[in-house]
Amino acid sequence: MKGSPAIEFIESTLSYFPRLLAAAPIVIQLALGAMALALVLGLLVALARISKSRFLRGIALVYVEVMRGTPLLVQLVYIFFVLPAIGVNIDPVPAGILGLGLNYAAYLSEVFRSAILSVEAGQTEAALSLGYTPGKALWKIVLPQSFIVSLGPIGNYFIAMVKDTALTSVIAVTEILKTANVINAQTFETTQVYTAAALLYLLISLPLSRIVSALEKRARVHV
């Protein structure tokens, strides 16, 4: 079998793994950084969307519509190529984290908003009757429960985000796809290089989705 075309293809595909794998830490850095930003900002936007203030609700709604209504790729390009025109220069990786984070915050805010609204009003009423202030009732009683409800969707968005890190290749982040482009320019083994890249993404996301469903199952036992 040695020397058959199939084996050769597999061998050369695998040979690109180490170099591509070297870019994996950047992907993890992007995804974790952007997710942290998206979680915090998403929660704030969700709270603004259900607040009593018309002004806050308006701003939050505009934010969500703009972020969901324009392509993530365009947002990344905007941050990296357009902002310098007004004097804001951001390095590729922080720009990637910012772009992904701002975009996913819009989607996560919708997850949080519906999760918060799904917690029965009775939970808040009980807390208020026990002497919690409205803010404390939200923070101590409602949010922990809505977070449990949100775990599944948050996990799914995280997996999607890991794959969307590939978009940052256009703003000069040397993540997996960018690395593959560079290798391809040197070797012209296009099929093997990009097959290896695709496999690597798969190897990262498959275990993640397992972890997400396990987490979700564990957390949902009581609520």
Partner: protein, 283 residues
Amino acid sequence: MSDEVIVSVRDVHKTFIVTKTPGLLQRLRGKRREVNRIEVLKGVDLDVHKGETVVILGSSGSGKSTLLRCMNKLETIDSGRILVNGHLVGYEERGGKLVDEKAAVTARKRTDLGMVFQQFNLFLNKTALGNVMAPLQDVKKMSRAEAEEHALASLGKVGLLDRKDNYPSKLSGGQKQRVAIARALAMDPSVMLFDEPTSALDPELVEEVLAVIKAIAAQGTTMVIVTHEMQFARDIADVIVVMDQGIIVEANTPDEVFFRPKHAKTYALLKRSGLAVEPPGAV
């Protein structure tokens, strides 16, 4: 029982405003926004004395639950005054008018009133013990150990020490309601409000909850109970209040209300429960 008034309700009025906004198509056809005003409380007066058990009866829609919920400002009032231990709850008076007070002040005053809900409203992500401990730690600022000690004592009073580590999803309706009672009781309020505490329970679970409430009443706790359980009302009440269409039509001792009802609505209520003796005025 003493002369000290814990809850004083004076001439309270409350209107629910229900607005119906028509869809775009209907609006184009000239349909206007509908505003329905429902007067739920039309001038209610009531005193609850220290150590007293007041039971409020009335058909659904009579305003009895609303009255209870106004006492700790889960519902707002339009006019009148409700004083708890001599203080307005949720309002301050400025120039003869009621103005919302700071949320933190309302929260502190609400600890004077324990409330038990029809739907239990246990915190779903906490165990029985966790439910009782949470407000002790979050509101009363007790240490963990102190809160646990208090919570265990309170769970003991409702006979649920053996279920302390169960989550609400693993408790029966009756057990949930008993935990809810323990949670409210642990805060050491000066009055307990029960909003149809057994209405959501399977018939065979009603008795265990009523027994717990009776035991608490026997210890001299001041209580206001909204219920449909007539026999229970008769057994436990010092005063029975009958409401109809937003007003109190009768307030008297259980014997007077059950054996000599003065109002036709009271009689109708008794008759529906199979407890009626004589029509009013027949004697």
